[in-house]
């Protein structure tokens, strides 16, 4: 069987392209069209992509990982139980937590702890979001939609507990989406200190 050879012609240039001038005229015409459209055209037809940054801002995408916030319970205390999952997961090791016990008369005493110090070095953070993934109780979130405000001092980038608690999410809420069923609540699953384990 004879081998079939299919000759594919090299794409050449047309005469108009070879003469050069018509193509140049075409290019000039195109550029002029754009120029007139963007300079003198009606505002709606203009195609300008420039954002005048400090005056106009582009909304970040919905799942943008912005600076962290700590969510609150309904009484305003941090939802965080100081389990150290986030600081363990953090590849940049930029979360510093000092866990502390609640007072003995607090119903939460003996069940969970709270962070007496919660510090994130936002300069060292790589915004990977692992801390958010690791948190077992939706206490840390990156849904603020804000990038770090610039500053001239490194100290300003050490966000402490109060700062992190004071930043709202993009929807304006401070509360956690995973509320703790406090002992004594109607919704409490039933295991509490009075009834025994």
């Amino acid at each position: 069987m004879a081998v079939e050879v299919k000759v594919i012609k090299k794409p050449g240039r047309t005469v108009a392209e070879q003469v050069y001038l018509p193509e140049i005229a075409k290019g000039l015409g195109f550029a002029m069209g754009r120029f007139f459209k963007n300079t003198f055209g009606p505002q709606a037809k203009k195609d300008i992509d420039t954002v005048k940054y400090p005056e106009e801002k582009v909304e970040y995408p919905e799942r943008f990982r912005g600076i962290h916030r700590l969510t609150q319970r309904t009484d305003g205390s941090p939802r965080c139980v100081a389990c150290l999952c986030c600081s363990t997961a953090c590849p940049a090791q930029c979360i510093y937590i000092e866990p502390a016990e609640y007072e003995p008369d607090d119903p939460r005493y003996g069940y969970e702890r709270y962070p007496s110090v919660f510090m994130i070095d936002e300069l060292r953070c790589i915004f990977c979001g692992y801390c958010v993934e690791a948190c077992p109780c939706d206490a840390i979130r990156m849904d603020t939609g804000m990038h770090m405000p610039p500053s001239t001092s490194r100290e300003h980038f050490l966000y402490d507990k109060e700062t992190l608690l004071s930043i709202p999410g993009r929807d304006g809420s401070y509360l956690t989406a995973n509320p703790r069923h406090e002992p004594g609540d109607e919704t409490h699953p039933g295991i509490d200190r009075e009834r025994g384990h």
């Binding site: 120029f35 420039t50 005048k52």
Partner: protein
Amino acid sequence: MTTTFLVVSSLVKVLAILLITVGGFAPVLIWAERRQSAMIQDRLGPSRAAIVLPASAVSFIDRARLPLWRLAALTGIVAIVALVTLTFVAVKGSNPLPISTSSLTASLIAFGVASVVLRAGYGVHTMIVRNGGKIMLIGLLHPVADALKFIFKEDFVPPKADKLLFSAGPIIALIPAIAAFAVIPFASSLHWDYLNQVLPRTGELAGPVVPLQVASINVGILFIFAIASTGIIGAAISGYASDNKYSLLGGIRAASQMVSYEVVLGLTLVPAFMVYASLRLEDMTMWQHDHVWGIFVPPLTLAAVTFFVAAVAETKRVPFDLPEGESELVGGYLTEYSGMKFGMFFMGEFVEVVSLAALASVIFLGGWDVPFLYRSGFEFSLPFVAASYSVPVVHWLVVVIQFVVFLLKIIVLIWFQLMIRWSLPRFRYDQLMSLCWKGLLPISLLNILVVGAFILSGWLDGWVAFFEKLF
């Protein structure tokens, strides 16, 4: 005409030219070039340089807005009332009112102007407040910022450079570009004694005549060629004096490119001399004023195109910017220059763009000639019908209109050059040379023959007569 009058008028003309080119066109061009490229590429371009006002001034401006608007409205109403009354008087034919007609007219003009100015002030104030106390002027402050930067930058001279030639380079490059304007007529001549009168369409007039051109010399266009070739020396010298191989190569490239295109530039204009039968730019404009714009005479159309290409190559700008090239020559002969010396090269380049536009419009687009505008005013005559219509215009206004139209022609040509600069791909050096020697040179030589035949066969006169019958 006294000597003092001559000296003063010449000085005024020189100053005006410096103001227009170095003070006006060059800085605006720096902005326009960036802005235009941005518009082609869907960007905004330089628009952010701003003078930031202090907060107290901003709050004052904000508070002044409402009174300004009210005053504008008030003066506007008064002007409208005056206008209505005037119309009433005009319709009635007599003035029964206690106010005289002339004071009515005066108040109409005064209040109308005041209203417009106040309304504009309100607009400016609103804009400033909306921009947060920044005056931005659509980016026109960028050249100012550039100039400040140039002035305060370190003026570096390479240690082994030839100090004198290194400093002379930018001057030699800038001065000829400006000097070319000396022979360009900006408007028809000014009859000093008849400023407020309507002149007759033709005929000699007594009294001092001020030609609106710095130097009216016989060699005219040859002077421009001579001056333009001096620019080559600027580029070559600065390349040589920089003590840098890239600079030297860039300087040599610039020199050879400019020398080659100088030849073509001269030859493309020979047909123009033949048709206009003069080397003086004012005579060329006059011929076009009397007959028809050069670009509409068939063989000159070709001359205009070739001239334009050669002249763009002569300014060494994209697509012919071979003397520079980041990948091969760094900045070419500009490599070692910084600060205001670089600024002078930059300026020289832009002034060259302006002078090229001026030259092209004088030689091919009629210079200051405005269609249907004669020394006596506008005169329209319809073709093939004996009807005509004329609007007499006073002499000074005629000159001003011619001047403004000339500037407009320059602006359009500059715009076209910038368009070319941002659209066309760059040539290779051998392509540049073959375009010059194998393309433009034979074409322009042939064109000289064609124009010669055109004139000798009498077709030129026929063509001109045909055009004159048309208008």
